[in-house]
Amino acid sequence: MNMKKSLYIIIYSSIILLLAACGKPTAQVPAQFSLLEEKANIYPDYTDIVVPPNIAPLNFIVRDSLADAFVVHLQGKGKELLSSAGKNGTIQMDMAEWKELLAVSIGTEVRVTIYARRGEAWFCYKPHSFMVAEEPVDAFLSYRLIQPSYELYRQLGIYQRNLTNWDVHTIYENNREFDNKSNHCINCHNYRSNSSADMMFHVRANHSGTVIVQNGKAHKVQMKDSTIITAGVYPSWHPTENLIAFSTNKTGQAFHIYHDEKIEVMDESSDLLLYDVTKNEICHILRTPYDLETFPCWAPDGKTLYYCNADISPLLNLELPDSTRSHQLMLRYDSIYYNLMSVTFDPKTRQFGEPQMEVEMAPMHKSISVPRVSPDGRYVLYTLGDYGQFHIWHKSADLWVKDLQTGNCYALNEANSKDAESFHSWSSNGRWMVFASRRMDGNYSRAFLAYFDKNGKAHKAFVIPQEDPEMNILLLKSFNVPELTKDSVTLSTADISKCIYETEAENAKYIPNDATFRHQKPQTDAVTGASPKRK
């Protein structure tokens, strides 16, 4: 063997040894190990949760600065899964094995045992487990990715993630390259009854309008009239009729100078609108000067519209000009309280009834926003915070439900955190809820799933899995307005872009009506604020 050859062998052996030292260990349970008293510190927290049987692998990072290798052993009903990680602790499980494990473990627990190698010795953390629910989650999750700020916008998009794997489809992205003349914002994507067949979202600033996707085609409409505050804002598709209820809001933002909550998003005025998609006509549902109606949401039968309402007349000095309203409200931003209201609707005559109080929280100095009715029509899921309506910036914001059968209102403590939870939606089977929460770092919202069982109890929430769990840290954008659907959006990104860039928005015809009236306040429960049980 000559000198040169020996040198090559030494170099190659060194590289192989180096790679082996840096890489993952073999995924097998160590023959010998010592037991540790504590559970492993894993990120994200996937311990003691209930997961859908069709969810993608819950990849995670084991945090142990003393260890340089990890092995994870998952045991389900007669099925095992082994995975390993190097020093970075990132466990990325095999998709097929994971699916098999969940398939056999439906309705039972999966036990997770984590081993860590510290030096030459292996240690075993106290195992944790998760439960596999019987009911799947709707496979597709739509969300907007946007920096958690503030007034400006540039690169943002609406995406659809397949929760059963790692696929992400771009529904639409605005200007990647900055162009002042084309810069626009996109927001408030919404679907009808958990199906992507009917979809809409707004485009603001340049190329503005509301994009409505139906029958595989996109068109753009403009909802403007001198009586409409702005355009349509927060939407809700009617479950059976081709109608969309919108709020129309004059919204402003104020930036705290010394507060844990960075931003206060306030409405100066807001009303409710009804848009007829087929006829391209719009009319008011409620139009009041001192009540702020917002966040409409249809019940699944389409006969009741829920919404939030704040009476701001006590906060305003009515002798001052209306132009000072915004400033007056800013000074008393923490005294704006929204109640949960409802109004009946007759789909045949398209007539609305009198507004009814559903949950009155203003007297308790609490505020409700974003009501979402469960697909079975039994529960209204909403966010309760200390004030205001844009609860995703309120640390006090928690998820609550009102049981429409019993009239009881209660917090979903298991799913809530110390930080903000909001912009929630239901899975079509009503067993899963998805919501945005800033709990991971207080700033960047992530989409969380929580199981909602048959008894109306929510279980511990968990962040949607990522192929690389560290993306939850590395991604400098927030998950915004997560919406679950059973199917995927079929219209291509190019078709939607074409609609936005190349078509003019069609003006909706305004139909005047007598929509101006004030609600009556029924008696409510003194503790929970709930209205009497319905008969």
Binding site: L152, R154, N187, T251, Q253, I257, Y258, M471, L476, N480
Partner: protein, 532 residues
């Protein structure tokens, strides 16, 4: 003696006659090597601060997922590679060395690929000189609201093309390549001289243009880097050395340094505060006053970490994350006790080459309030944090000035001085008067003292409520008399009088910042869409 010595000289004379005549040997210099040294000096010492600050206005990690915001744009790979190369400017000598290598190798390859004959070899220097000239022409625009990946990406791309071209030529031709280090054998003295002249003239033009047309570029970038290094004395020295230059970024950095050395009420007017326009363009390509170069810093050092985070985030939305913004964000988040947010940004920053020391220093503070408070910079800033919450929109912009203008209670004497100085700066004397009470019976700092005397002309007896003002009265009386001839055209005489009254507040009151005074110090209108 004379006989013996005359023999060899005769021999030598005979030899001279038989040998062919030797031409006088003419010098030739290794111009390419000298060019390398000159570029190195330019890219390291002369313009190094500009590139180094460009790095701070950039962001690069090897993980392409985090750079999707540029990779998905046109020339994404170029931007990515260019940003990676720019990271070497953490150490200007390293970045300068790389820049010099790219430009010099490119220069040599131009000569080789174009098969330039010795007499035309001076042409090979033109592309590199043109690049340096372009960079100098654009000045701050190379990084301000611009794609920083192009700074080193473009020369690198050109080099890459030339290398491929050169390899192709070399594959088909075995012709001897000109020497990279030595003087090429085919060059005459004249060829060599022409190259030297082209290079010297080129560098002279570049440096001359910068000194005459963009004198503020190096000053601003050096000041901004000193701010990051917390070199308060350096900022003051540099700003005073360039006292006649006047721009907002410089004024803000200078004020920050004075705040940290407790001299804001003593030395603020040592530099001219008239704010000449800069050659600076925003994303919309219109002229910009550079406010986004200093508002985040101003808010942070002014005691408004949340407003700093707001400003950082707005800039990140438009330009993507940058090292500068992330560092400010981390420091602000530390002040606000947002530990998880700090960890997030530190984790991202830890993947950026050469940022280990920052991560180590501030990473140690995460979750440890006492360590945060013990940091000298933060400890100083804490003194001027607001006592109560309110909204930014309630104040004139930028908020670090607007808040101080409205300050009615502060947590320290520093906050009071800041507030008084902002009142004087904005020439709002009634507001200044309202805040003087805590200083009564004491000797105020120089600028405040002069402000009091100036106000006393309309409020007789005011000066008697303070001590130590009597000695200053003759000067202000003299000043008021001396300036009378100039009062009819104050903007016209401001510049010429600055040298005489440098550092004297009454001069600023009558002659300084007149344009801003006329317009009012108002913030820019921003869109209110896109809440999330």
């Amino acid at each position: 003696m004379s006989k013996r010595s005359s023999q060899p000289s005769r021999k030598a004379a005979q030899q001279k006659e038989t040998e062919p005549p030797v031409r006088h040997k003419q010098w030739r210099l290794p111009v390419l090597l000298l060019f390398f040294v000159a570029v190195l000096v330019w890219a390291t010492y002369y313009y190094g601060s500009v590139f180094q600050l460009s790095r701070e206005y950039s962001f690069w990690v090897s993980d392409t997922r985090q750079l999707d915001f540029i990779l998905s744009c046109s020339f994404g790979i170029l931007r990515y590679v260019g940003r990676a190369l720019l990271m070497t400017y953490k150490y200007p000598w390293l970045g300068g060395l790389l820049m010099a290598f790219i430009l010099t190798l490119g220069t040599w390859l131009v000569g080789y690929c174009w098969r330039l004959k010795a007499k035309w070899r001076a042409l090979q220097y033109l592309p590199a000189l043109a690049y340096m000239g372009t960079v100098t022409y654009y000045g701050l625009d190379i990084f301000f609201e611009a794609e920083t990946g192009y700074i080193m990406g473009i020369p690198f791309l050109v080099l890459l093309v030339l290398v491929i071209w050169g390899i192709m030529i070399r594959s088909f031709s075995r012709k001897k390549t000109p020497s990279f280090i030595k003087v090429p054998s085919d060059e005459t003295h004249r060829d060599n001289l022409i190259q030297l002249v082209v290079c010297v003239l080129g560098f002279a033009a570049i440096v001359g243009f910068n000194e005459l047309k963009r004198p503020y570029v190096r000053v601003i970038t050096q000041l901004a880097l000193m701010e990051q290094e917390q070199d308060w004395e350096g900022i003051q020295a540099l700003a005073r050395a360039n006292a006649y230059q006047s721009n907002r970024p410089m004024a803000c950095m200078y004020a920050i340094a004075l705040v940290h050395t407790d001299q804001i009420a003593e030395r603020m007017y040592d530099i001219r505060l008239d704010y000449d326009s800069l050659y600076l363009h925003g994303m919309d390509k219109t002229l910009n006053n550079g406010s986004s170069m200093y508002i985040a810093e101003g808010c942070y050092h002014g005691g408004f970490p949340e407003s700093c985070m707001h400003s950082c985030m707005e800039q990140m939305v438009m330009q993507g994350p940058t090292l500068r913004l992330m560092k400010l964000y981390i420091k602000s988040a530390l002040m606000r006790g947002e530990w998880e947010l700090c960890r997030k940004f530190l984790r991202i920053l830890s993947d950026v080459p050469f940022e280990g020391s920052f991560c180590k220093k501030y990473g140690a503070m995460v979750g440890n309030d006492s360590l945060v408070d013990a940091d000298p910079e933060i400890a100083k800033i804490r003194l001027t944090e607001p006592l109560h919450d309110s909204f930014e929109g309630m104040y004139q912009q930028p908020v670090f000035m607007g808040y101080n203008l409205a300050l009615v209670e502060g947590r320290s004497a520093n906050a009071l001085y800041n507030s008084l100085c902002v009142c004087l700066y904005t020439k709002l004397m009634p507001s200044f008067l309202e805040r003087l009470e805590p200083l009564m019976g004491r000797t105020p700092p120089d600028i405040i003292a002069d402000g009091i005397l100036l106000t006393a002309t309309k409020n007789p007896g005011l000066e008697n409520k303070f001590t130590g003002l009597n000695l200053r009265i003759p000067r202000i009386q003299g000043f008021m008399q001396q300036i009378q001839p100039y009062m009819s055209d104050r903007p016209g005489h401001a510049y010429e009088l600055f040298g005489k009254y440098k550092g004297y507040y009454p001069y600023y009151y009558f002659f300084g910042n007149l344009k801003a005074t006329k317009k009012g110090y108002t913030g820019e209108v921003t869109s209110n869409s896109g809440v999330n």
